[in-house]
């Protein structure tokens, strides 16, 4: 629901670089056929990781940008550029359409580990700070994605990054939509980006939160399943182009979906254990803003990462909102692993791909619920009925929650 004086928000472009593929067709077929992007990383085994499982980006050519352009960019910022370039092409927006003060950039990102390590190593090796080189300062900041995309795309409006752990991408999309709803921007190129290197994951591995089902990486991540034993870290970059609906219509753009609602909440409780009601408050807020009744939501793209406590908490929150009649639910992290800062934005890209390609992806590796995850309508097979009215959840360390409502019909 636009609300009085508020603008409607259209999705007109999507792009993604993920462990499922680097274009919409490949990613769509992976989602439809249940093809996993997870692997065992032998280097992590040698280094003493508890779990060597990870998502992996394959066949990506970073030379879409020059060496000089890449000097200030970590790999995930180059992935973000590729996904933004593809999303803008799909949206049919030319340089002249976005190089103005009504076009913004807003990405979720919460780390840039490699530059921090490399700059310290360079200083120790060369014995002087000028030996570090010019690029590391720009690579090391969590705003590296938006500052680099701004110089490459030459947009002139909003330009900042948002850090809220694993809900960063979800909040980035929500706040981008708010900028448009409020009339502050006509369009925002938004999304999330996540590094995938072992260096950024070693301390997380030390918490014992990752799955150790290494015999078959494709079945290691088991959201909501009774045999789930942890998440699988992953990454990439996802971009969504949001536009003022009326302007998108005026220019004859293909409207891929309508962004109806954004709800947020925080737990105010623990660092790593989600609360019993935090995510449900975000879901209810998003549904209220959308103008829909909860019963009209026909698909829920869950945050579920495959941790014992996290999935049970989300299940409880979903039951609080939907009672014993939940929408169809799937957790795509079974295939992608947990794309962390990127995941909230990636879910919107994946869901839009499903709507475009005419199916709803199954929640793979789910066989049976336990006491904590019971009562959910979890999709166990690819459904030929595409998503219509969708709720996308994401939740982050510290208890920060994002819920988005999108309509595809």
């Amino acid at each position: 629901m636009a609300g009085q004086g508020l603008h409607r928000v259209a999705i007109t472009g999507i792009g993604i670089v993920s462990c499922l593929g680097n274009d919409l067709e490949t990613v769509g077929s992976a989602l439809r056929e249940g093809r996993s992007g997870l692997v065992v990383d032998p280097e992590r085994q040698e280094l003493g990781f508890r779990s060597p499982l990870t998502g992996q980006i394959k066949d990506f050519d970073p030379k879409i940008l020059s060496r000089k352009q890449r000097k200030s960019m970590p790999d995930f910022a180059v992935w973000a550029y590729a996904s933004a370039r593809d999303a803008l092409a799909l949206a049919g927006l030319a340089d002249s359409d976005i190089q103005n003060d009504q076009t913004g950039l807003l990405y979720g990102c919460d780390s840039s580990c490699m530059a921090a390590i490399e700059q310290v190593d360079a200083l120790r090796l060369r014995g002087e700070t000028k030996g570090i080189g010019s690029g590391q300062i720009f690579r090391s900041m969590t705003s590296t994605v938006t500052m680099n995309l701004n110089t490459l795309l030459k947009t002139k409006g909003a330009c900042w990054s948002l850090s809220s752990a694993c809900s960063s991408g979800g909040h980035a999309l929500g706040q981008a939509a708010d900028l448009i709803r409020l009339g502050r921007q006509e369009r925002v190129i938004c999304g999330g980006a996540q590094e995938i290197n072992w260096q950024s994951m070693c301390s997380f591995d030390g918490l014992g939160a990752f799955s150790v089902q290494v015999d078959n990486p494709a079945t290691a991540c088991r959201p909501f399943d009774a045999d789930r034993d942890g998440l699988v870290p992953s990454g990439g970059a996802a971009t969504v182009v949001l536009e003022r609906y009326d302007l998108a219509e005026q220019r004859g753009a293909t409207i891929l979906g309508e962004f109806l609602g954004y709800g947020f909440s925080s737990d105010g409780e623990q660092l790593s254990v989600p609360s019993a009601d935090g995510l449900s408050r975000a879901m209810l807020s998003a549904i209220e803003q959308s103008g829909l009744d909860a019963s009209e939501i026909d698909y829920l793209c869950a945050h579920a990462t495959s941790t014992p406590a996290g999935d049970a908490a989300e299940a409880g929150n979903i039951r609080r909102v939907f009672g014993d009649k939940t929408p169809r639910i799937s957790a795509l992290k079974a295939l992608t692993g947990h794309e962390l800062w990127m995941s909230g934005a990636a879910q919107v890209v994946y869901t839009t791909i499903m709507a475009q390609q005419g199916f709803t992806a199954a929640s793979h590796n789910f066989n049976s619920a336990d006491e904590g995850t019971t009562g959910l309508n979890i999709l166990q097979k690819t459904d030929p009925v595409p998503p219509g009215k969708v709720l996308c959840n994401s939740a982050g360390f510290g208890g920060t929650n994002s819920s988005l409502v999108i309509s595809y019909c």
Binding site: R67, K68, G131, G133, S134
Partner: protein
Amino acid sequence: MTEAEIIELIDSSLAEEFELDREDMVPSANLYTDLELDSLDTVDMVIVLEGAFEFKIREEEAVRAIRTLEDIHRFVITKIEQNN
């Protein structure tokens, strides 16, 4: 090392670092207006030259005064002569 060899090493090192077209790398080429380098690139230019010639560049004022490729050639040749 002859002057020609020094110049070739400078040009090839800079061409690789900054993905420059060797045809554009005439001695009179202005680093900023012709070769499209910027002030950040001069930080990396110093690292490249230090690596190629295994010396340390302490003359920050002299580096800041460099404008053309020929200025770099002269700077490096002078520095090598001084070190010898």
